[in-house]
């Protein structure tokens, strides 16, 4: 048994971590968060150059031909750095296309998406809480689709949308006059969301794709992102409390503070294997995939939520300010917890799969 990363996987993750550290330090994150988005295209292109845009796209279409585990390792690093560039939507859309697109659809789109010359994303949620395929009502007819999708990430400037439809079908919709993107006032400004209005937009079904897969993959990526963000925020809080002095000593010296930090590490650190396994199962143990993904998403984003709340508290007054970066990681985790459905939804999904 070998429940560890391969040398290649470790090296790749290190490369991504290095890229984030050099190209997207907290001051860049902060600038983008505050609306100065000029740096985003260059960052996205930089990530594409190290293989992130085409990660799950087969090599014959110009991608890296890797699996969900590698994508999740990227998600961990992007979460760790709260990196505000398109990744989640693009990765899920390319995964759907790589799994279920016709040869013609793949040949048309995948090479451009892998190179970062085109951007794709997914449009899944409908009305309040309608995150999972059984709740989707949008339905293509005569090669066209009409309806509204909420909380679409990376919609601004996207060339291609993978739209979730009634019965769990997925349709490809290109940007065009029948596709209207309206920005939503997004809490995680690093990953702004939009509402998508489709008014008879030309739509081509992805014949071999399965929406349930997309939900599983998204769950794993969000869990990994939340893990990275929460793990980092625990460490950042430790560093801050080692320097902040009160009563003539660092706050980190007080046992009450120490125990709070230990409890935070206790909630987040041991969960690494949970999302590793969920990613591994997605590619290598299909019968386990949905169960593992649902549990990882529910558990890790829930634990991460408490950890980031504790981090604000431990920082004291400064932690509650807009100026302090804690809020950026805090909102990153809020997104991870709620996008694709709150933990409650995924716990029930898990319970049903378990046959409870």
């Amino acid at each position: 048994m070998d429940f560890s990363l391969s040398e290649e996987q470790e090296l790749f993750q290190k490369t991504v971590r290095g890229f984030v550290a050099h190209e997207c330090p907290p001051q860049t994150v902060r600038a983008i968060f505050d609306g100065k988005r000029a740096a985003v295209p260059a960052l996205a292109q930089g990530l594409a150059e190290i293989g992130v845009a085409g990660l799950v796209i087969p090599e014959r279409h110009g991608g890296a031909g890797l699996e969900l585990l590698e994508a999740a390792l990227v998600a961990e690093e992007l979460g760790r750095g709260a990196v505000p560039v398109p990744f989640l939507g693009h990765t899920l859309a390319t995964l759907a296309l790589a799994r279920g697109g016709s040869p013609a659809q793949q040949a048309t789109w995948l090479p451009r998406l892998a190179a970062g010359d085109a951007h794709a994303t997914v449009a899944l949620a409908e009305d309040e809480g309608s995150w999972l395929p059984p709740a989707w009502r949008v339905e293509p007819a005569n090669g066209r689709v009409t309806g509204r999708k909420h909380h679409v990430p990376e919609a601004d400037g996207a060339d291609l949308f993978v739209v979730g439809c009634r019965g769990g079908a997925l349709a490809l919709v290109e940007a065009g006059p029948e596709v209207r993107v309206t920005p939503e006032p997004s809490l995680d400004r690093g990953r702004p969301l939009a509402t998508l209005d489709l008014d008879g937009a030309p739509a081509a079904l992805l014949g071999g794709a399965d929406a349930a897969h997309l939900v599983d993959a998204g769950s794993v990526l969000l869990a990994a992102d939340a893990f990275g963000a929460a793990h980092q925020l625990v460490r950042a809080t430790v560093e801050y409390l080692k320097t902040r002095q009160q009563f003539g000593q660092p706050l980190a010296q007080f046992q009450a503070v120490k125990h709070q930090l230990a409890n935070m590490a206790l909630e987040v650190d041991p969960t690494r294997g949970l999302w590793w396994y969920a990613a591994h199962a997605f590619d290598h143990a299909p019968a386990e995939a949905s169960r593992a993904a649902a549990l990882a998403k529910a558990h890790i984003t829930e634990r991460a939520q408490q950890v980031v709340r504790d981090a604000v508290e431990a920082h004291g007054g400064i932690g509650f300010t807009w100026e302090c970066d804690v809020q950026i990681w805090f909102k990153r985790v809020m997104f991870d917890r709620l996008w694709l459905g709150a933990p409650e939804l995924h716990r029930e999904r898990f319970a049903a799969i378990e046959g409870w």
């Binding site: 070998d2 429940f3 980190a252 206790l266 969960t271 549990l295 558990h299 319970a351």
Partner: protein
Amino acid sequence: MNLQFGEKYEQLRAEVRAFCAESWPLRGAEAKLDERAQAIAWRKRAIAAGFLHRTVPQAYGGAGAEPDVMADTVIRQELDRAGAPHVGSVQGTHMLVPTLLECGTEEQRREYILPTLTGEITWCQGYSEPGAGSDLASLRSRAELVGDEWVLNGQKIWTSQATEADMMFGLFRTEPDAAKPHAGISYLLIPMSTPGIDPRPLKMMQGGVDFCEVFFDGARIPARNIVGRRGEGWKVTKATLKHERMLIGDTTGTRMSFDALLALARAVQRDGRPALEHPVLRQRLAEIAGYVATQEWAVARMLTAFHQGRDMEVLSELLTTKLFGTNLQQMIAKLALELIPDQGLREPDPDEATMSLRGFTRGRWVSQYMFTLAYAIAGGASNVQRNIIGEIVLGLPRDQRPAR
């Protein structure tokens, strides 16, 4: 990543399974022996076959195998499956034996290791005292060398199985004038039949009896019954404490408890249907399932890392193991009592007040609800664990301990 054990270990699994099929349960005259004698007879065979305590050197009765956590895991899975009595007196097998292997004399190793592994000699641990809990180094029980004997005086407490054990390994102050409290302690091996030793059972909160206070009043043991040098007992214990923590963090215990909780949720009714179908309880069970799976994958990661000699990469998983397992067992027991609230108002029957993770009856859940608190106290209290996580995993400043 490859979650199969692979050909080598599956071959081992087949060998262990064949061994179990042939060796357990015992047959013929042996089947009529009492429970302890049966366990001893089977363990002798399992040790000789190299499937139990396999890393213990051949000179002391083991197989002298290289450490291999994968092999250990496969073997344990098969022994559990067969219901074989492979878990003996854990104080002896998991604490005393490693200690003797590291610090014991040749004579001590030959005298104690094999009989301890088979269960012919059982052990209790004499560490805590009424005035020395988490601050163990403040212990005051004394051993004075008179001629060629140690004369023991004082009191130990929270000593599990003190009335049944054959031997105690214990810490006694032998150098009362040492400059630092840690420096004056020695590690002694004490036959419990020695005159002047009086173990008195303490009734636990759930009504059962497991631990004792043990009084020493001039009890005399041979001078050679010291492990390590005089005054170096503290150093000798370090390996032992580490092993106790690993033991409590074992995941089979939480898996067994969680499976029992699910069985309970199937058996009891809420609103005219099994509690397992109640939306609120499904949520709470799934939340606990997240912790159970977290623990199992953390252990899988640790196993791999140990196997590859990359222990430091799983330091956080390792040092959170005990606290994580404690909290999880408490969560499971608390939810169980919500499923059987009326039972929770009844005092457990005496036979349900003993600690066991097998055969959960409703009364035993009430005991477990209380007994899981012991996990937070024994083997390094939870608040001490939080200090360790804070200081070692997160690199927080060490506690400023008052000068002595």
